[in-house]
């Protein structure tokens, strides 16, 4: 994906992560177009284990490009119910489809109300403009 893109149906964390809410208490997480573009070509994704507890605003995984490693910050709290195993062989999906096949984890939320603190797409775009 060459052009900056921030879908309207996602919620955003100011550390450049997104969450897609599914049902009342599940969500999928990933990193934003801006995050993958800053990092460059992702060559390694170090996921959490299924069952791991993750806390909003804390690191739950690492993504690495050739030159740099970056912590991935949880936009919401919960328990990991699925990790994107396909990224082990194709980490470049994080660059190519950061909101699609490049998703990182699926989480059962423990405090769904935290979503109120996240940004919508317009707010996140504004944050990037002011950076």
């Amino acid at each position: 994906m060459d052009e900056a893109n921030y879908p309207d149906d996602l919620l955003y964390h100011d550390q450049h992560d997104w969450a897609r809410l599914e049902g009342d208490d599940h969500a999928v997480f990933g990193i934003t177009w801006y995050a993958q573009d800053s990092l460059g070509e992702v060559v390694f994704y170090d996921p959490p284990v299924v069952g791991a507890t993750i806390d909003k605003d804390s690191s739950y995984a690492e993504v690495e490009s050739v030159k740099a490693v970056s912590d991935v910050i949880a936009p919401l709290s919960g328990e990991v119910v699925e990790v994107n195993d396909a990224l082990a062989d194709a980490p470049e999906k994080i660059n190519e489809e950061p909101y699609g096949d490049g998703w990182l984890v699926k989480v059962k939320l423990t405090q769904a109300s935290e979503a109120g603190a996240l940004l919508d797409a317009a707010e996140y775009r504004k944050l990037l403009e002011n950076n």
Binding site: E41, V43, F44, E62, E64, V66, K67
Partner: protein
Amino acid sequence: MKTPLHEKHLELGAKLVDFAGWEMPISYEGIREEHAAVRTHAGMFDVSHMGEVEVEGPGAPAFLQRVLSNDVAAIGLGGAQYSCLCDEEGGVLDDLFAYRLGGDRYLLVTNSANHESDLAWLGRWSRTFDVAVRDVADRYAMLAVQGPHARGIVSRTLGIELPPRMRVSTARIGNRPALVCGTGYTGEDGVELLIDPGIVPAIWVELLDAGVVPCGLGARDTLRLEACFHLHGNDLSPDRNPIEAGLGWCCAEATGFVGSEAVARARAEGTAEKLAPFKIEGPGIPRQGNPVLSGEEQVGIVTSGSFSPSLEIGIGMAYVRADLADPGTEIEIDVRGKRRAARVASKPLYEKER
């Protein structure tokens, strides 16, 4: 500081980073693509941040023999030689290429971060020799064109004869005098061009139009690490001598160079640690500063680490306890708290099948 190619980098949408005070491109389209271009075709690097020092005078051969670790007397006219610049304790102040341009005229190409301190060091040691040491960094822009097709494209595009590997020749590029060096830092064939800064943008465009891929410092680093070339500041430093760095081959202690006693002692007695290339076995990418483990004991430290685009695994170089530096030895790298299995490898870490 900006090189004469700064505008060109911006036009190409390069990602720029600060490197030793210079605003340099880290990559254009992506490190992996640029890396692959050098391994399979031809890539070019703006390395105009590197320093140049001219050493001239009747005392030049004897002076350089005194300050450089290699046997400078072995450099014939038009020859090139790799050397360390050592302090009295044998610590490596810089590593550099010396090119012999005339009977008593040499050019040294320094690392940008060390250029000023090298000049001061050379100036200090030159006082008892009949020699002039001049900072000529402003006189040259530097382009490294590297890859299996690099020499052919440069020769055709610029209409010049190229020197063989490890030689230097003069040429006219853009109707200005230039130096063409058969050297590089990628493990591929190629040349390094020292060109008038005023015409380097036009030469850059000519080579770009001829299909040479612009490459940034990111690919330069992954290429040199696969080839096991040292990076001063990472793998070499004043706290390490050439012997433990595996650079004994470029030290001729019999010449009596500054630091030669210490280097001779290190060679005779052995060193506590040695620089060892290694490959990660499995997931994980080592980075500079990661501890090296053997069992529960820390036995070394990673000085360069990266993902290898050619091998698609984590690779690096580390100073490890000397008894663990032999190829095949199993070690572990502590990558941010995760132990990653690794194995000491032989040099180079990547070699093309020939």
